[in-house]
Symmetry: C2
Subunit: 350 residues, 2 copies
Amino acid sequence: MQGAVEDVDVPSASDVLRRCRELVRPALVDAVGRLHPWTGEMAAYALGWSDTAGTPEPGGSEGKGVRQALALLGAEAVGADAACAVPGAVAVELVHTFSLLHDDVMDADALRRRRPAVWKAYGTGPAVLAGDALLARAVTGLAETPGDHAAAVRRLCDALNDLVAGQAEDLRFEHRPWDGPGAVGPEEYRSMAEGKTGALLGCALALGAVLGGAPEPTVAALDRAGRHLGLAFQAVDDILGIWGDPATTGKPVHADLHRGKKTHPVLAALAGGSRAARELGTLLASARPTDAAAERVASLVEEAGGRAATRGEARRHLDAARDALRATPLTRTAARELDVLFAGLADRVM
Amino acid sequence: MQGAVEDVDVPSASDVLRRCRELVRPALVDAVGRLHPWTGEMAAYALGWSDTAGTPEPGGSEGKGVRQALALLGAEAVGADAACAVPGAVAVELVHTFSLLHDDVMDADALRRRRPAVWKAYGTGPAVLAGDALLARAVTGLAETPGDHAAAVRRLCDALNDLVAGQAEDLRFEHRPWDGPGAVGPEEYRSMAEGKTGALLGCALALGAVLGGAPEPTVAALDRAGRHLGLAFQAVDDILGIWGDPATTGKPVHADLHRGKKTHPVLAALAGGSRAARELGTLLASARPTDAAAERVASLVEEAGGRAATRGEARRHLDAARDALRATPLTRTAARELDVLFAGLADRVM
């Protein structure tokens, strides 16, 4: 009976995300308000709170706030009040926004959430500066949190280093060949994706647990769960980067193919060795694909099993993330909400 | 007799800087070695250790290392061993390098220490990434230092926020008129310069004192001394930006004039109200100066008293910095070395 009642009570992933955004919002607004007004305006635009004229656009292009939610749930999962994790939630959300601003500069991505990226709207220099301001504010907010939070600051720093190293790998991969001895291996891809996407998701959960006073093994398990979630997330993103509907992804069709990004579906397709894989290899080796060629590349990747392999990769990491949660003593409600959230994030392509 | 012996023993500013660089070098090399190899290569280039091919260039284009020296002297000045301040010295040097990389992107400065800036040598995206990596590593190194260094991390974060806000002001000033109600006032200029240049110099001294276990009033006095030094330093830089020899500054002649930078000499000249000031105002209001016009602008700034006023500003802040040191109980040797260092930095144009 109790179980049945709880099932009814489990909120949807978007309910969980909304509740967490509302809890974090005042502190996030306060953090952005402490920035120089100009970088604050760019930050508000990047967070989807306002347009380039600074006019509020409530809910317009706001992110889901996955990282802030993970921080709060990390605290609740170890029996603490979500409020204690708010400084961690703000920190990971600001670091995420920083990384979007700078990554869009590095990747020359002109669109973000269906709007011009900050560098397109304000210029490259200002976007770099706004990213710097967000990063500085993220670390400061956590360092200023009353209580002894040296462990929290160290965790955030570690994630930052991993994030930047992952982005470095991703950029370097663009200069590597698709095939042959210099090709990007599965382990290299995984390490890049774990740094670029997994580190901050793991950090979000871990920070919540640290701020909630959890013992180190619990913190480590939550970090591991978040890292696997990140790998699932990156696999999903790779699928959307090739086959995603631009209306949903907010990015141009085949964006990753045009840039020669070493994504999981293409690498997995090439590794298959089928006729389609060989044709794919020849096509990719010739030049960066035109629109028509990108269409053909996408078909060949699918035919050679790349899409299915990446879906499998996402599922494996989602399972591993859930296993890491189940193997850890967590409060029941938060554990269920995390499970719902994890599934919702990976379900975008399954 | 003792005084005379001590006078003989006081090393020159470049002796002090060299000794400090040698003490910090192994830890700085270690910190750069922890970066992703690609960002590490860019960092080594930015630090003047190697060329773009990664080939070592010993001593070629290395910076003076003022900030690392201030950190070590800050510790020695409060009676601690310089070694305890090495993590602080590494942190401020990495933050300084981060800010050079990103500022050169924002200011489109193609030359740094007579070599192509990192964004010119490696590309804008990679330069942004290398800066991010240096910033992350700077905070991490300090956060990982054994012992309770929460206060040190907070100080570094505060300086970072000031630094970024100062850079934001500096960029915004370029869009402000030279004259009239929207013109940049002396207090606004000072606040920008204190953020952009003073905050990190103050932080360097303060970090040394914090890591050396000094009480808060001593730390605050050293921070204040460093901030005044920064204001003197910025005034000197402004003079060099107009009248400096490109062979010494490593930057193009009249660089600041061509970009419409709101520097102290020009603002002070305009505020004078003389005939030269009025002609200067008209010339500046018409357009960004050509080479010939920049020459004329420089002459008018000098004629209107801008150069002398800025030299006075540098001297006042240098005196204030020295006063702040003298009003604080510091060990005699370190206080003398600081005095020599302060004078040496400001003497470049006096």
